[in-house]
Each structure stands twice: as C-alpha cells, then as structure tokens.
C-alpha cells in the first residue's frame, strides 16, 4: 500500500468501528504518552524540552508498533512553555522516570461571583498572579516574550508532527477542526477552584456556581454549540473523529449533581453531534459506568467512549450502542507474559469486537516504563492486525 492508500485504509477501519459497522479488522490505537519517550531510549527531560527529540520519539513509536491512530503525538505536556513561564505544574524526575503534574487552582470558592462578573479580568488580575507571583506591575518583558514565543513553538510543533505522521506514515489525524464546546464545569474544576473548591461550591453556594457556569458558557460553550449546529451534516472523511471531549469532573459528582451541573451542558452537545451524524470520541477518566443510563439513548455510531477504570466487557454489555476504545490493561502489558497478553487480546476481540464497535487500545495513558514491555506490545499489535473474527 502507498502511504496515501494506508491513510484511507486506516480511516475506513476507524470510521467503521466508530459507526458500529464491523470493520475488516479492529483498528489498533495508541494511548501511550510519556512511556514512548522511555521506550525510545531518551530521558523524559530530553524529549519534553527538545522538539527534535520528541519528533524522533513519535516516529520511533509508530515505526516499532505500527498503530492505526495515535492519541498523543508528543504534545500532551507543553513543558517548554510551562518552564518559560516558571510554572510549577510539571515536575520531571529523570531518575525515577516520572512526570508529576501538579493540580493548581487559582481561586477560592468565595471569589466565584467576582469571576462570573468579569471572567477574563479575573484571570488576568487574580489568576495569573496566583499562579505566577512575578506577574504584576514590574513583570519581565523578556520572560513574557520568551513564553509567548514558546506558545508559538508548541503550536508549530503540533502542526508539524501532525503533518509528518499523516504524510509520511499514513496515520490519520485524530479530530477534525470543528467548533468544540467546552464543558465549563471541567475548567472550573480543572484549573479554577480544583476538586475541593468546586465541591465546596456545590454544597454551599450552588447559585454562585450556576452564575459562573452561565458566564463561561456565554463566552465559550454557547458559541461553539451554535457553530456546530450551523455546520453541514456529515462526517469529515479526512479525520478519525468529528469531535473530542475529555471528561474528569463526573468522578466527583453525585447522581444529583451530575444531573444539575453536567447534563445540561453535555446533552445539548451530544444531541448536536448526533443530529449532524458525526462521531465523537470521549475520554472518560476514572469511572463512567455509574452514569451509563445517560448514554443509552444515543443511536449507534455517535459515541465512542475511551474508558479508564471501567471493565470493558461490562461496558459492552451495558452500552451496546456505544463504540469502545480500549481493552488492553497496561498492567498486563507491563507485567504479564506474551501468552497472557495475547489471551486477553483474543478475548477482547471476540467479545467486545464481535459485532464491531471496537477500537483496540490500552486502558490507561501509558506513562511509566512498567506500563508496557516492548515485546508484549509488538506481539499484541501484530495479533490484532492479523485477527479476522
């Protein structure tokens, strides 16, 4: 196959699986992030701080394991930018081979209404100095210019590595550049108040939290939903998916809070995707099965879930309308024998992929050296590519 033919072949495998049609074979998807740096023989700090090294890492990952789609192209952690800003977010330990990502919140619950009143002003005048103590009346212009340049460098690398993987390796880009609604609660929990502050607000001042969600929705979510609704119906054939969402906040919500704070944003979003006959990939961090009823009403071929801790066999039983990405535990790839890994792969293909709707992948973001043995991963990927059930 030429690279162009390979690209179209892979796109058809992925779209068939996402649309719950039975593909010729299950596509093989990488969910490896920093593991691939170590696997390519580099230190974490080397690859994270040098885009030329990261390019070699991503190329090595594809050349060794021959995936049909990569969830990460070496751009998950904008380490160089964070370093230029003096951000405390990332802690790289080359000896322990670990990258710790610190949760940092920039506001306290009692500031909620102030944020809602003028979101960008608050981020500028309170959020920035809370995270970067040097941000103020005498900030270093050189530091800001350096970081601004790093932001452009990060975006440049992102575009370049996407091009390389598509043109040279026939790897389809993951998601079309469509309007992408942000669930405001995810940002509120993710970087404004953190888990604790958001939980406090939900219990003690729901009205203020609703005010903030409304203010953020008006700026980001609503225009994106409108943009999505104004698009022509149909799937973009040059991409694996038409939309992408990462869900984390649901893990900290009771069923009542889920209905009150999450569903009002998620439902119109997924309804719009369904109405346009598009495919959305949703990475559900933690557990999602306790909210399974929400996903049951969508037609086959709309939603692909990428679960983290949920049992994929139970997910297939409970959500026969949803395509699933996953199936291979990193624990097994890292600690099991080749035979154990192949047995698991066969079971996933036979049970979860029996009627289609399976994108074979790992169950966690591969981060540490023990998240996979190279020989196990190669054997499993070869097996899945050859399996015709």
């Amino acid at each position: 196959m030429t690279t162009e033919e390979l690209l179209h072949y892979r796109l058809s495998l992925i779209r068939d699986a996402a649309n719950m049609r039975k593909p010729e074979r299950a596509p093989v998807v990488s969910f490896f992030v920093t593991w691939k740096i170590l696997d390519a023989g580099y230190k974490l700090s080397e690859a994270l701080s040098d885009y030329a090294v990261m390019e070699k890492v991503v190329r090595h990952h594809q050349e060794e394991y021959n995936f049909d789609m990569l969830n990460d192209l070496g751009i998950r952690n904008p380490y160089r930018f964070a370093r230029a800003m003096g951000s405390p977010t990332y802690m790289v330990d080359d000896e322990a081979e670990s990258l710790a990502v610190h949760d940092i919140h920039i506001a306290e619950p009692e500031q909620c209404r102030e944020i809602a009143a003028n979101y960008m002003k608050f981020l500028w005048e309170h959020g920035m100095p809370a995270k970067y103590p040097w941000w103020g009346p005498e900030a270093s212009l050189g530091k800001i210019m350096g970081a601004f340049g790093e932001m452009a460098g990060f975006m440049g690398f992102s575009g370049k590595i996407n091009q390389i993987m598509t043109k040279e390796y026939g790897l389809p880009p993951r998601v079309a550049p469509n309007p992408m609604p942000q669930i405001s609660l995810e940002n509120i929990l993710g970087f404004i108040f953190g888990i604790k502050g958001t939980s406090v607000l939900m219990r003690r001042d729901k009205a203020a939290l609703h005010e903030l969600i409304a203010a953020m929705d008006a700026m980001f979510y609503t225009p994106a939903i409108m943009g999505l609704k104004n698009m022509p119906a149909g799937q973009n054939p040059g991409f694996c998916y038409d939309s992408l969402l990462a869900m984390l906040a649901h893990n900290f919500l009771s069923p009542k809070q889920w209905e009150e704070f999450y569903v009002p944003a998620l439902k119109p979003y997924l309804d719009a995707v369904a109405e346009k006959k598009m495919n959305i990939l949703i990475f559900t961090e933690g557990n999602i099965l306790r909210f399974k009823d929400f996903f049951r009403d969508y037609d086959k071929g709309v939603i692909t879930l990428l679960p983290e801790n949920d049992d994929i066999f139970e997910m297939r039983r409970e959500l026969p309308n949803v395509a699933l990405m996953g199936g291979m535990p990193n624990d097994l790839l890292g600690h099991g024998t080749k035979e154990e890994c192949l047995d698991r792969a066969r079971e996933v293909l036979e049970v979860v992929g029996r009627d289609g709707g399976l994108l074979f992948s790992q169950n966690k973001m591969g981060s540490y050296r023990n998240d996979a043995k190279s020989e196990n991963l190669k054997a499993v990927n070869d097996f899945v590519r050859e399996y015709r059930g």
Binding site: S87, N118, K121, W124, Y132, L141, A147, F148, M151, F191
Partner: protein, 51 residues
C-alpha cells in the same frame, strides 16, 4: 533583556502587551489588527493558566 512591563491591570496590560510582543504580520503583509492581537494575548493567558 531587563525591561519590565506593567501587566497588573487587565485593560492596560492587554494594550501594553499588544504594543510590545512580536506578532507576525497577516497574510497580506500588514500588521496584525488589534482585535486579533488581543485574542492571541487572551489565548496566552488561558494557555498559561492551564499549563
């Protein structure tokens, strides 16, 4: 570079950065319009807080 800049206030901070940061010219070779510069600066702020 030891030059400092006052970014303590939102409105004046945006204007100061719009003047000082090296924005690329538009596709027509003309300087980037102020509105686009402001959007890039806001993107920078959000990127800073999320990174």
């Amino acid at each position: 570079m030891n030059e400092t800049i006052d970014v303590s206030k939102f409105e004046t901070g945006v204007a100061a950065l719009a003047q000082k940061l090296p924005f690329p010219p538009g596709p027509d070779g003309q300087p980037m319009p102020m509105q686009q510069k402001s959007m890039l600066i806001m993107q920078f702020i959000i990127f800073s807080l999320m990174s």
